[in-house]
């Protein structure tokens, strides 16, 4: 057991560090201090009243006052190993009976040091590391890393590579939203939705396995295009997926929206106002549920999203039901985009032909000495990227996925920071969960759809 010699750090009042209970899992100042030990403006901050700019909606602050006799409330751990925290998220919640007063998300239980590992891998290997961050949409991570590298390299991709990437990224959005539908249904009590959601997702994963060779963590979108061309006959596979998914979405809509229990747990719960969402830098379905039409595919188009017409879905109340409706309709929009991608897929080569960046096709290596040299150089030392820094952002199913890449002219990135949407969206959890019941907290966590791989990086 890697016994770190547990030096009990400065435990705040109320918890004596020598007690037999305090052991390796005690996280000191990161935890939620008991009510007696926290200053009032700290309480106000965590209760969210400092943040609540307009008093316009929801349960106003007066009926949940801040002064509580200390033994009245109870601090519990919705800890790292919990069925409904979507991975290893630990929420310390202060409850008055069943009402959630203060919440503090404690993260880091899946910290993999990926940004440190990225500084050790060449650009060619970089997408294998980045693809394991958001494991519900790995291709989007690879896409943002490749776009950033290509912007630094200043190379222009052939049209087929751009459209293949759009095809895969939209299929990935569909599989991620289907996965969300499954786990959200499960969290709110409908296990049939879990089985339906995973059944549809297997169709998409089957297509990915056929094109990229793997169900997840594909390493298919690389700087300079994609690893291989689409398998022939891919059009009918995609058509099978699109027909199946679009025909069944109506049933899932009736299955969930038709249930009064589902309605009761989703409508009006976890509400967030527009300026709170902006202030907390929340992006994606959370920001759009408050009515702000901000979708990077529309406002800052990348790849070829400006040649495809689709709708940006926005909500009205900013509660869980809006986010559910947004994600459900975004699957329909993805289906619509994919039909257009099917017709407009241009022929041509699937990666840039610049010999310095992409390795030559395998067969040519045996024929020409020069191709062998390029192959050898790219796979051992990697290609050099000119010195500079760049920030590129795309719209992942959870929000704005950005990649800040600094290169010092060598073949390894000097600094890679991935702006993970779930990491920032988690900050709006305490504001949304405040005042609700614990059951509402479960539904709200599931509606934020955090993926702990990209939160902890």
């Amino acid at each position: 057991m890697t016994d770190r010699d547990h030096t009990a750090t400065d435990a705040p009042a109320g918890v004596d560090p020598e007690s037999p209970f305090v052991r390796e899992t005690y996280e000191g100042a990161q935890e939620l201090a008991p009510r007696a030990a926290t200053a009032t403006e700290e309480l106000e901050r965590e209760v969210g009243s400092v943040l609540r700019l307009p008093e316009s909606h929801g349960v106003d602050m007066s009926d949940i006052d801040i002064e509580y006799p200390d033994d009245e409330t109870m601090i519990i751990n919705m800890g790292p190993q919990h069925p409904s925290t979507h991975g290893v998220l630990r929420l310390m919640m202060e409850l008055d009976g069943e009402t959630v007063l203060r919440t503090k998300p404690i993260i880091g239980y899946l910290h993999t040091g990926m940004e440190k590992t990225a500084e050790e891998l060449t650009y060619q290997q970089g997408s294998t590391n980045v693809t394991r961050m958001d494991y519900l949409s790995p291709l989007n991570n690879e896409l943002v890393f490749s776009l950033a590298t290509e912007k630094l390299l200043g190379i222009e991709l052939p049209p087929r590579a751009v459209w293949i990437r759009m095809l895969l990224s939209e299929l990935q959005r569909m599989s991620s939203h289907l996965m969300w539908l499954a786990t959200n249904g499960m969290d709110v009590g409908s296990t049939t939705m879990m089985i339906f959601g995973f059944r549809e997702r297997e169709l998409v994963l089957g297509f990915f396995e056929k094109t990229t060779g793997l169900r997840m963590n594909h390493n298919f979108i690389r700087p300079g295009g994609t690893a291989a061309d689409l398998p022939d006959g891919w059009e009918d596979d995609v058509e099978v997926i699109l027909d199946n998914v679009s025909s069944r979405l109506g049933d899932y809509d009736d299955l969930l929206t038709g249930q009064p229990i589902f309605r009761e747990r989703m409508e009006g719960v976890g509400a967030l106002s527009a300026d709170e969402a902006l202030n907390l830098s929340a992006t994606g379905p959370i920001l759009r549920s408050t009515g702000i039409p901000w979708d990077l595919r529309r406002t800052m188009p990348y790849l070829a999203y400006d040649e495809v017409d689709f709708d940006v879905i926005i909500g009205t109340y900013g509660d869980n039901f809006d986010r559910y409706a947004i994600r459900l309709n975004e699957i329909r929009e993805s289906v619509r985009i994919l039909w257009q991608v099917l017709d407009k897929m241009p022929p041509g080569d699937y990666r840039v032909q610049d010999k310095k960046v992409t390795p030559p096709p395998r067969a040519r290596i045996d024929e020409s000495m020069e191709a062998l040299i390029h192959h050898f150089k790219i796979f051992t030392e990697g290609f050099k990227v000119p010195e500079g820094e760049v920030y590129v952002a795309i719209e992942s199913p959870r929000g704005e996925l950005g990649c800040y890449l600094v290169s010092d002219g060598s073949s390894k990135p000097y600094r890679l920071h991935i702006r993970a949407p779930s990491f920032v969206n988690l900050q709006s959890l305490p504001v949304m969960m405040h005042g609700g019941l614990v059951a509402d907290a479960v539904a709200t966590i599931s509606s934020v759809d955090p993926v702990m791989g990209e939160v902890d990086r």
Binding site: G79, Y109, G113, T128, R132, F198, L205, R215, M452, D456
Partner: protein
């Protein structure tokens, strides 16, 4: 016509085989999904690769009602004590499948943040390779574990191995010399 040609029947069956058969066919995993392998573990639990065919359809949330811990994903330094605590709180007899290379050996993340192999924290019975192991690989690991339970010893008295000093760790299963997957004898 002695009893020796009576292979399988109720009269000559041993209690130990009965208990092993019962344990083998109702192993309930505790939900210990960490990273990408957890998604594959969930799809193993879902309709396409259904593990309820092997009696494991219920993923128990609390370790008190679980027999098997599938460590699905990379174990970070901050998570190791939590993993150990959940393992200690599981009831005997308990088994551990280390799913994926990150759990088995730290995988591609050979750095400061990841525990290089979960067997430094808990005793592991079956290692499932792959990143992430496809559902079939996880099913193969589960079948291997079932085979181990079937051939393992449960009642033979043994000298207690050297456990963690301050308190006895879980039950360390016997290591049968060879695990054959074919049809049971």
């Amino acid at each position: 016509m002695g009893l020796e040609d009576l292979q399988h029947n109720f009269l000559t069956g041993r209690v130990e085989d009965l208990v092993k058969w019962a344990r083998r066919n109702s192993v309930w995993p505790v939900t210990f999904g960490l990273a990408c392998c957890a998604i594959e573990m969930m799809s193993v639990g879902a309709a396409d690769f259904d593990i309820s065919r092997f009696g494991m359809e219920v993923f128990r949330a609390s370790p008190r009602q679980a027999d098997l811990m599938i460590v699905a994903g990379r174990v970070s330094q901050k998570m190791a004590p939590v993993l150990r605590q959940v393992y200690d709180q599981m009831m005997e007899p308990k088994w551990v499948i280390s799913m994926g290379v990150c759990a088995s050996t730290g995988g591609m993340f050979n750095n400061y943040a990841i525990v290089q192999g979960v067997d430094q924290v808990v005793p592991v019975d079956v290692y499932a390779p792959g990143c992430p192991p496809s559902p079939e690989m996880l099913l193969h690991a589960i079948l291997t574990l079932h085979e181990k339970i079937r051939t393992g010893e449960i009642t033979r008295r043994r000298a207690p191995q050297a456990q963690r000093p301050e308190e006895l760790a879980g039950w360390v299963p016997e290591r049968p010399d060879a695990i054959r997957l074919g049809t049971p004898r």
